[in-house]
């Protein structure tokens, strides 16, 4: 008897939103109908999201891919030999050996090495593919050794601020406290970003391992993952993985049989974008309104419940197991300037080949959008890309030579944020986008500081006047002044960075703000 044929259908939310569950049901039904024994694994996503649902069938150790598959495609594919001879199935859905696909072959996957390959909830898979090697080395190095390793790796906060992770950990390590915390910021609210969601759904043990290592490094025995409620699948996967890790002794009173204790819990947000700001997140975890705190004190000194707290983004913490397993030097070898390692870039919006592309810092924006992403999905010219979420600047193609790293983007009045790139074609109206930036800030402002609370609403009203062709020059001056006030007077990045999309839209696409002046009828 031959062994069951391994078939993979992602359980990733993006794949499910495009019908992966129905495809899985159809595959099982067809297999049963023709009497073929299949082992259907719900893997994470490979990140080639234009191909989702991406079905993979293993044959002689090679995984052959087919996508995007709809349930109605399944009988035809199976009749053509999907299960028995996947290599010889041709047609528009066949993409050949998945690992050799140019989109994957061109990447430098460290954090996402396992994502899409393994069964996310199989601890055996995780360990077989290098999991928990980082924890083993961390235990051998001890707290200060871990902190030093993370510092030497050059890892900077992947949430957007880019603060050196090692320095943050050292501060918490050096701050005395009977109870310290590790908090994972999984409140990935930026439009155009989905890396946190993908890694939590596709490789949850890696986040658990990263947080455990952080706990050992700084002497924290409790951890919280604060995940946004818009990610129900990620929450369910993390919850299940935490139970498995605890049962296997990777969490609990004696982690891995050592004297280190580490307990982990996932908490669900409640639909407030501002809770992605670290101090607002801490307030929310404490059960309060997500009002931003003034800094100092830093969370490293007085964080959750006033205790020393490491608060890191999902991508920072999931980079840690790799850094420990293969060494700081290996990780720091990737990247450019002060941006070391790799960044999981997310290609989104109106883009032909949208997905997750992990690459060393330094690749240009143009390569990412045009070469990797294939330009727009609509086939029209690219007009603008917004990098770094709703608080990120709009870049025109003229700036596509900008290297993807923290400093290069800052130099051009932009930010890489959480690594999301949203592409717009030439039908986009940048005045509407500027209006939305203010509107979103008004909806999501926590209300604590005046520039953000009032400025966002006044900004939206003023852009509306500009769109209506009312006193355009004077109102553009008002926007410039207001942006300045918000940038320098707001308590956190929500109010402080909302001017980025606004002023970049005005600077790079001035015609869009004078449309109604040119064509009075359009103001109607």
């Amino acid at each position: 008897m031959s062994a069951a044929i391994r078939v993979f259908v992602p359980s990733d939310a993006a794949a499910r939103a495009c019908g992966a569950d129905e495809v899985a049901i159809a595959l099982r039904a067809e297999a049963q109908r023709i009497g073929v024994d299949i082992d259907l694994v719900r893997n994470g996503s490979r990140g080639m999201l234009w191909l989702e649902p991406l079905v993979e069938v293993e044959s002689a150790g090679v995984r052959y891919g087919f996508g995007p598959v709809e349930a109605s495609d399944v009988p035809g594919l199976v009749a053509a030999g999907l299960f028995t001879a996947p290599a010889s199935v041709s047609g528009p859905l066949a993409i050949g050996p998945v690992a050799e696909h140019p989109f994957l072959a061109a990447q430098q996957r460290l954090t996402f090495a396992r994502c899409g390959v393994t069964d996310p909830l199989s601890l055996d898979d995780y360990i077989a593919y290098g999991g928990y090697k980082g924890l083993q080395r961390a235990l051998a190095l001890g707290p200060l050794g871990i902190v030093e390793e993370v510092t030497k790796s050059g890892l900077r906060g992947r949430g957007g601020a880019g603060f050196p992770t090692g320095i943050k950990w050292k501060t918490v390590h050096d701050t005395p406290g009977a109870q310290k915390y590790i908090v994972c910021n999984a409140d990935e609210g930026d439009s155009g970003t989905f890396a946190d969601r993908m890694i939590m759904e596709g490789d949850p043990f890696q986040l658990i391992e990263g947080m455990t290592i952080a706990g050992i490094a700084v002497g924290a025995t409790r951890g919280y993952i604060y995940c946004r409620s818009e990610y129900p699948d990620a929450i369910a996967t993390m919850r299940a993985a935490i139970v498995t890790a605890r049962r296997a002794g990777f969490l609990g009173a004696r982690v891995y049989g050592t004297d280190h204790a580490f307990e982990l819990e996932i908490r669900e947000g409640a639909g407030a974008y501002v809770c992605g700001e670290e101090t607002s997140l801490l307030e929310s975890l404490e059960g309060k309104r997500g009002l931003v705190r003034a800094k100092p004190p830093l969370p490293a000194h007085k964080g959750l419940f006033g205790r020393p707290t490491v608060i890191n983004n999902v991508l920072s913490l999931t980079a840690v197991p790799h850094i420990l397993a293969d060494g700081a030097a290996f990780y720091a070898d990737y990247g450019m300037g002060r941006s070391r390692g790799t960044m999981p870039v997310q290609l989104a919006g109106n883009i032909r080949y949208g997905g997750l592309f992990e690459i060393a810092f330094g690749i240009t924006l143009g390569e990412l959008v045009e070469k990797i992403g294939g330009g727009t999905a609509s086939g029209r010219p690219v007009k603008a890309v917004q990098v770094g979420g709703p608080l990120g600047a709009y870049f025109p193609p003229a700036l596509f030579d900008t290297p993807f790293d923290y400093e290069s983007f800052a130099k051009r009045d932009g930010l890489i944020g959480h690594g999301g790139i949203v592409v717009f074609d030439d039908t986009a109206d940048m005045a509407l986008q500027a209006r939305f930036a203010f509107e979103f800030c008004a909806i999501e402002s926590c209300g604590k500081c005046t520039p953000c609370r009032i400025g966002s609403t006044r900004g939206k009203e003023t852009v509306e006047k500009i769109i209506a062709g009312e006193d355009v020059d004077r109102n553009l001056e008002v926007i410039a002044d207001l942006s300045n006030t918000m940038k320098f007077g707001s308590l956190c990045a929500l109010g402080g960075f909302t001017p980025y999309p606004v002023t970049s839209a005005i600077a790079h696409f001035p015609d869009d703000f004078r449309r109604s002046a040119r064509l009075p009828a359009a103001a109607e």
């Binding site: 993006a14 439009s191 989905f194 409620s229 818009e230 669900e268 919006g349 074609d425 986008q433 999501e444």
Partner: protein, 157 residues
């Protein structure tokens, strides 16, 4: 028939006491209350406040701060359409207008017959497979005008 329970103070107290071993239990409690009753009833606020030894104002403040917590029952179906930038780049504004016309309700409104609530959501993390929506907890990607028609028909059933 509603899938939610009718409010009772006793049930609210049970929910609170089931969460008392948590640090900072208010958000998990409010999620559980909403799960049970379909929204956070005004009458639940003083009960939660008393059990947690908080002021009513503090609990009220938290309920009203977060977009997820509703102070009135929602429609039998809840359709959330993503309005964030990645979905905007793929025409979510036009699709939203189509849904509003078909359902006869605007974003943020519930139909008078209690059939459907239409909501804006800012990012479901499906930004490379947009425009995206969530209907009664189920995710839908790559929205087209035809798919919007399908979702509106689903709500009608």
């Amino acid at each position: 028939m509603s899938r939610h329970e009718t409010f009772s103070a006793a049930r609210t107290r049970d929910i609170v006491s089931a969460h008392l071993d948590l640090e900072g239990p208010l958000l998990p409690i409010l999620h559980a209350v909403q799960e049970a009753f379909g929204f956070v009833p005004e009458a639940a606020v003083p009960v939660i406040a008393e059990e947690l030894n908080l002021s009513r104002a503090e609990v009220h403040g938290v309920v009203t701060f977060y977009h997820d917590f509703h102070r009135a029952p929602q429609g039998r179906h809840v359709l959330k359409l993503c309005q964030a930038e990645a979905c905007q780049s793929l025409g979510c504004r036009e699709l939203t207008a189509q849904a509003e016309r078909a359902l006869g309700v605007g974003i943020g409104e519930t139909s008078p017959d209690g059939r459907v609530t239409l909501e804006a959501i800012y990012c479901l993390g499906l930004c490379a497979t947009g425009p995206a929506a969530m209907i009664d907890g189920r995710l839908v990607g790559r929205l087209t005008p035809a798919k919007i028609d399908g979702l509106c028909a689903e709500v009608d059933r």
